[in-house]
């Protein structure tokens, strides 16, 4: 049987009268990194934000079709959105730590979900910071304000914050676009590691980054999924002429 973590079926999304996602069907594998590429405005961010229903926070948005995570409907009336967003963590383009201590940033989610307190919470914070490859750099200053960290460290803190609530899926929307090359390299290494235990979906404009860190690559164009397959194959021999032209810089 096919190994599928997220099954997107006939997905359509509108913002007002603008049709931004058009009949997308996509099966995403577990414990792998899937990159979503495409020119600006093609719908890649909207696609991943459909998975944890964040699009609904935008006035005038409308979604049809279905998304299943482990065969459970994301768009069912019975879906617990609070629980959905715990299972599907998200890391944004710019690091957005809370104006709190490093510790409190990571502990925030588990506290909110009443997952732990006391020593158990300390354990979760340490585990999450280790999972985000940040522990060694901050273990002696957990009470410092998160804004004292560098941009790259802040982004890893946001990843730790996402990991703290034990998600299955991690969505990343251009997580390195505001970072320098050294910080980017650390995040990329981290994403490869996370891909072994989590289903990671990353939107990126950086083609080489997609080639380096993802197992699968999806290419979107004007709201449609044009090509989706193994990253190695897509970057070596794309099936679509459009993808060939886009990744070789002939249009975009």
């Amino acid at each position: 049987m096919e190994n599928v973590k997220i099954d997107i079926q006939d997905l359509n999304v509108w913002f007002g009268s603008k049709h931004v996602i058009k009949d997308v069907n996509m099966k995403i594998k577990p414990n792998a990194v899937t990159a979503v590429m495409g020119p600006s405005g093609c719908g890649k961010t909207t696609l991943i934000r459909s998975i944890n229903r964040i699009n609904e926070l935008i006035r005038g948005s409308r979604t049809t079709g279905e998304i299943y995570i482990d065969k459970e409907s994301v768009y069912s009336k019975d879906t617990d959105i609070f629980e959905l967003r715990r299972r599907v963590g998200m890391v944004f383009q710019k690091p957005n730590p809370f104006p709190k201590s490093i510790y409190e940033n990571v502990a925030f989610g588990p506290k909110l979900h009443k997952m732990a307190s006391g020593e158990e919470l300390d354990f979760i914070v340490e585990k999450s910071l280790k999972g985000a490859a940040l522990w060694d750099e901050v273990k002696d200053r957990l009470k410092e304000n998160a804004f004292s960290l560098s941009g790259g460290q802040q982004q890893r803190l946001c990843i730790a914050r996402a990991l703290a609530v034990e998600p299955d899926v991690i969505l990343m929307d251009e997580p390195c676009s505001a970072l320098d090359p050294a910080a980017t390299a650390k995040i990329e290494t981290l994403i490869r590691e996370l891909g072994k235990s989590y289903t990671v979906i990353i939107v990126t404009h950086n083609l080489q980054q997609a080639a380096r860190i993802s197992d699968f690559t999806a290419f979107m164009y004007v709201g449609q999924l044009v090509e989706y397959g193994l990253t190695k194959r897509v970057f070596e021999k794309p099936e679509s002429e459009l993808v060939e032209e886009y990744i070789t810089g002939k249009f975009g």
Partner: protein, 212 residues
Amino acid sequence: MVRLLDSGLEQLTVMVYKSGEVAKSALSLSIRGFMNGKDASETVRDLSDVITSMTVEIENKAFELIVKYQPVASDLRIINSYMKIAYDFERYGRYAWDISFTHKKLGALGECAVASNLMPKLVEKVSEMVSKSVKALREHDAELAKTLADTENEVDELYFAYLNQLSKAGAQSKSVMCNLLVSRYLERIADHTTYVGEAIVYIATGEKISLR
């Protein structure tokens, strides 16, 4: 809009194609010398050295393009294949030099103790394959490249038939050794033309096939 990478790829294409043309000339010169009994070893050696230098330049250019532009898809296939093809052209040149050197040391075709029409046929087929491989490269013509497989089979048949003739002659003269070596070099050149053909098919279609 023309990409910065495009001018680099154009330069690389010209370099590889020129290398193929020089290799073709070196081989033609060495074969004609061997067939007509005219020593061309010095010129062929110089040409072979030129091709070796060109191969180094092609590799340097290819690395420069990879580092600067991080090419993917058809761009990457072209650069990767050109590096392989440059090496094969270098081998054409090296075998051309081997033929000339063997001729100089052991004698020309006319001095062979075994009279046979197989060597001229072998020469004709291999020369045709070399020309075809350079032409297919210039046009990125996968269909033409694929036809090299048939000619390579014919070369193998001629080569083994010729070996058979030479062995039956029972002669141990240096002219027999010479023809043995030259036919072997020709057979190897034919192999390298198929490697070039495979690289051209990969550039044009993305398919990795074997033409042997």
